[in-house]
């Protein structure tokens, strides 16, 4: 006997533990299988790009903290690079090292959240995430040491960083970096051969390399599909050309590969921080830049490899103290372009996992 059935439209979110913020997915289901999905954005739209046109360049720095608030240092870094390119500001050597250390610690912290919450979405409620948080706490303690903040740092400034490192920072960071590989191995032991994890992630939500490139995805999502594109290697900004590290790529482009890429990138970040801590010179940490900075007329685009992908700032100056146009190339938003294609044909429970594996931050999606 066959039953006549109709597709059902359901809303997932905006308030739902697995949406990682206020995000809504309008899913059309046939039984439990997704036949169509439309992401709905805008619940966290604050108009940062418009507000920025009314503030001086320096006043905009704290706004960037509030984009991807799980990786604020990276946001500061990208914005500072864009302004420095626009105004031709040089950065002292020591500050470059501090920036790289901060950006890589930030990457570890952000990936810890991404991996932990991925398992949360899979039903391993709170246990893995608390392991990850244990290490993330240590990174936040390091950040608190240098700038007094744990979430919105506002630490990297035009021409350097706001303060020099305190004396206790380098030994503390060294200690953390020495013990971190052990913890990463521990997560891997607990999880990588976990049968539930393998069953839920292998071959799920496969993104082909062609589509990953065509849809402008970036970061771990792009690399998990086997495209070895990392701005730190492809277009080394700051002093990334001085460090030895590998680009971690996947082969299948499924959820499991995205998870593996993040684990691998944490190991590479540890390598970079270790080298940077060994090489960091003494000296100035900030070139003097007037708070009423007026860059010459022109435009500049600067991008970094942020934890979630290519984070770029495009600035247009009309010679006044305020940017004429302030555009954020947000990796979280652009990575969501492929969401529909990844989930169609999978079940609702897989949707949650696939969505989690893209790793977005709504503060950056909606801006």
């Amino acid at each position: 006997m066959t039953l006549d059935t109709q597709p059902v439209m359901i809303n997932i979110g905006p308030q739902h533990p697995s949406t990682h913020g206020v995000f809504r997915m309008r899913a059309t289901l046939d039984g439990e299988v997704i036949v169509d999905l439309e992401p709905v954005f805008g619940y966290l739209h604050r108009g940062i790009e418009k507000l920025a046109e009314h503030k001086t360049y320096l006043q905009n720095m704290p706004f960037t903290d509030r984009l991807d608030y799980l990786a604020s240092m990276s946001n500061n870094f990208a914005y500072a690079l864009a302004v420095e390119r626009l105004a031709g500001i040089k950065v002292p050597e020591r500050a470059e090292y501090i920036r790289v250390i901060m950006a890589e610690l930030m990457r570890i912290a952000s990936h810890l959240m991404a991996v932990g919450f991925l398992l949360n979405d899979m039903g391993a409620f709170m246990t893995p995430v608390l392991y990850m948080w244990r290490e993330r706490e240590k990174i936040l303690d390091l950040f608190e040491m240098v700038c007094g903040q744990r979430l919105t740092y506002n630490y990297i400034r035009f021409g350097g960083v706001s303060h020099d490192l305190p004396d206790e920072f380098i030994p503390a960071a060294q200690r953390f970096i020495d013990e971190m590989p052990h913890f990463i191995d521990e997560y891997d032991r607990l999880l990588a051969e976990n049968e539930v994890l393998l069953a839920r992630t292998r071959g799920v939500g496969v993104l082909s390399a062609e589509q990953a490139v065509n849809a402008s995805t970036s970061g771990p999502v792009l690399r998990a599909s086997g495209v070895g594109w990392d701005l730190r290697k492809a277009n080394p900004y700051s002093i990334y050309d001085r460090f030895k590290f590998d680009i971690v790529t996947g082969t299948n482009g499924d959820v499991y590969d995205r998870y593996r890429v993040r684990i691998g990138e944490m190991q590479q970040s540890v390598r970079i921080v270790k080298q940077a801590l060994g090489q960091i010179p003494q000296g100035e940490v900030r070139t003097k830049v007037s708070p009423k900075l007026c860059p010459p007329k022109g435009e500049a685009y600067a991008a970094i490899e942020a934890p979630k992908g290519e984070l770029g700032f495009y600035l247009v100056s009309d010679g006044s103290p305020k940017p004429y146009r302030f555009k954020v190339r947000a990796p979280s938003l652009i990575n969501l372009t492929v969401l529909r294609d990844l989930v169609v044909g999978w079940k609702v429970a897989d949707l949650i996992v696939i969505f989690g594996s893209i790793d977005i931050c709504m503060g950056e999606v909606d801006r």
Binding site: W229, A234, P236, A303, Y314, V316, R329
Partner: protein, 159 residues
């Protein structure tokens, strides 16, 4: 290092294929006529290897809207800045959509449509992305005045 291609060189190559496509060019960018945008972009993608559309931006200048496309060739590690302009005079501002070439343009063009009111001809799902359907105006246009409760932003731009 990503090699940023000279706008002049690329403009010459586009000009050989599509004589009317290029409006101007300098070292940093190529400015295309908006009618020829899709053909020229297709040429850049297929023949010059620009397989990756990094970002699309719109800027509201006093006389015109300018769209800026940052293209990247992952294979050759090259970059290019492509621009096009559209007149503000018309009530309906429109440029061709490049979604058919790069899927990555999808959400970015919707964002520009929402915040600048520029339509993209040929976009499969052109509707507002961040703001709701009944919202009046397009916030990133310069004539959209920020009205903040309590008397405006301290230190805001005086028009």
């Amino acid at each position: 290092m990503t090699q940023l291609l000279s706008g002049r060189d690329v403009a010459r190559q586009i000009g050989e294929r599509f004589p009317d496509a290029v409006a101007a060019s300098d070292e940093n960018a190529v400015l295309l006529n908006s009618e020829a945008l899709l053909e020229a972009a297709g040429f850049l993608k297929e023949d010059l290897g620009f397989d990756y559309l990094t970002s699309i931006t719109a800027i509201d200048y006093p006389e015109y809207f300018e769209l800026v496309y940052h293209l990247t060739s992952i294979k050759r590690n090259q970059g290019l800045v492509l621009k096009t302009r559209c007149d503000k005079g018309d009530a309906h501002v429109e440029v061709p959509s490049v979604v058919s070439l790069w899927q990555g343009a999808d959400l970015q063009e919707r964002e520009i449509y929402d915040l600048f009111g520029i339509s993209f001809k040929g976009h499969p799902n052109l509707k507002r992305i961040f703001l709701w359907d009944g919202f009046q105006g397009h916030p990133l246009r310069k004539d959209f005045v920020l009205d903040v409760p309590g008397g405006g932003l301290k230190g805001s731009r005086k028009e």
